[in-house]
Chain length 259, copies 2
């Protein structure tokens, strides 16, 4: 089956959605088949990949709770080989609604491993998580083989990392023994800025090899791309942001091929 | 009693904590007494105002659920006239733990209106909300007189605004009839950048006067300040970021004095 990666960090605005979209596009460019699962009620990954807000009849919420036909909930994007399960605000009631469902933490795990998924031959499934450590993010960490952690090159972002690591360890000990860390990727990195350099230094000193060699620079083309419903790799293929995400896709795929 | 303002936006990383800290500092500079309530399990506002993570015996969680002595839970910061109720990760279990408590949505409302609060003579209470529309943010919107909405000058940030407005309207209709919008403040604004200008145009076209005249520019000194446990107003008093937050404090206080 596919390699399932949760893109997670409870700190808000660190580049989870941007990384899920553009890493997916980078993997497709090197011939992989990729499914993005939008697990954030904000639905930013869905918008960034061109699924209009009023065109989301079937969503991740349905994938979790209903008997839904995969053909209805898996949507083709404008990019061949890249599909998405879109999200709407319906997801935000999952925490409360699923409280009495004993299997509530394993819903995504089971949904992604149903036999009907085999026909799609995904190489990778990337799960875009919301900015919290709630039931949705726990579902992602139980469904996934690993967690990819975008780390914004800022002080507050560094502060939340230890809590995130604790949560990953807890999920590994209680529900998903093979869960590992895919890597930590520095995002919105500005080489001219002391703070960015300091965060990089701290991250590499404390985390060592799990920090990707690839750093994603702050690049305005990256933040413009979603308003054109495209990854930056198609919006501005020669931009520094697009190059960096191609490099990240190659580094990640190498790590998974060598393994 | 004090004017209670919830600083909220479910989009992550838009500048909620940065605005709560620096607006509070700006209000104190013009002679106001301000209490910041850290309602985010990340505890960034607590760190940004100098309460070390291992020095948070009593927290917002205690304020919500326990009979706690206000003197234990209200902490003095390094700035005279500025206090904070700190937060830890304990808060993140509030959603689940309080599910059976019928008054769960009014806990903060009641806590801030207990008679023991009168002795502090706050002019303003600013509540820093987590990046979600969960029970904690609903508590803030029911406790508050108004909602201050930091709007990052980015595409994804604009997308979430309509959902936030819907939630505010829902809270007004079901639990807090006098809840209004204090204003929308553009954050991390970069005048050289088309996207920033476009977001400003869109916001002013759609929202009119509720958008503050003051814009907060992207300014690296603002993001450095929290690592020194200071508002940018003390970390670098002459910086563009400090100036902008002083302006915001004056504009907000004018709006509340005129009213
Ligand atoms: N490398 C970059 N250069 C410039 N802007 C970026 C970069 N990466 C992300 N951004 C912008 O920063 C903002 C935050 O990124 P994004 O929304 O992907 O973060 P997130 O972690 O998914 O946020 P949330 O916590 O709300 O889900 C977005 O407006 C995005 O366009
Ligand atoms: N005007 C600014 N200029 C430069 N950096 C800023 C500015 N405002 C905020 N930042 C930085 O951007 C990041 C996000 O800001 P902040 O943490 O305040 O957002 P938030 O909305 O509270 O995030 P969360 O959703 O995680 O609670 C922080 O690292 C902060 O230091
Ligand atoms: Mg996101
Ligand atoms: Mg915050």
């Amino acid at each position: 089956g596919p390699k399932i990666i949760a893109v997670a960090n409870q700190k808000g605005g660190v580049g989870k959605t941007t990384t899920a979209i553009n890493l997916a596009a980078g993997l497709v460019e090197i011939g992989k088949r990729v499914l993005v699962v939008d697990l954030d009620p904000q639905g930013n990954a869905s918008t960034g990949l061109g699924i209009e807000p009023d065109d989301r009849e079937y969503t991740t919420y349905d994938l979790l709770v209903d008997e839904v036909d995969l053909h209805d909930v898996i949507r083709q994007t404008a990019i061949d080989g890249l599909c998405i399960v879109p999200a709407t605000v319906d997801l935000s009631s999952a925490d409360i609604e699923l409280i009495s469902n004993e299997k509530r933490s394993f819903l995504l795990h089971d949904a992604l491993r149903q036999t009907a998924m085999d026909a799609y031959h995904w190489d990778y499934v990337l799960i875009d998580c919301p900015p919290s450590l709630n039931l949705l993010t726990v579902n992602a960490m139980i469904a996934a083989h690993s967690v990819l952690i975008p780390l914004q090159s800022e002080f507050f972002a560094l502060e939340g990392l230890s809590q995130l690591m604790l949560t990953i360890r807890e999920v590994r000990q209680t529900a998903n023994p093979t869960l590992r860390i895919e890597g930590v990727v520095l995002t919105m990195f500005d080489a001219r800025n002391n703070l960015s350099q300091q965060v990089e230094q701290d991250a590499r000193d404390n985390l060592g090899d799990i920090v990707f060699r690839t750093k994603i620079p702050r690049n305005v083309r990256v933040s413009e791309a979603p308003s054109f419903a495209q990854p930056v790799l198609s919006y501005d293929a020669a931009s520094k942001g697009a190059e960096a995400y191609r490099q990240l896709a190659a580094e990640l795929d190498d790590n998974n091929t060598k393994a």
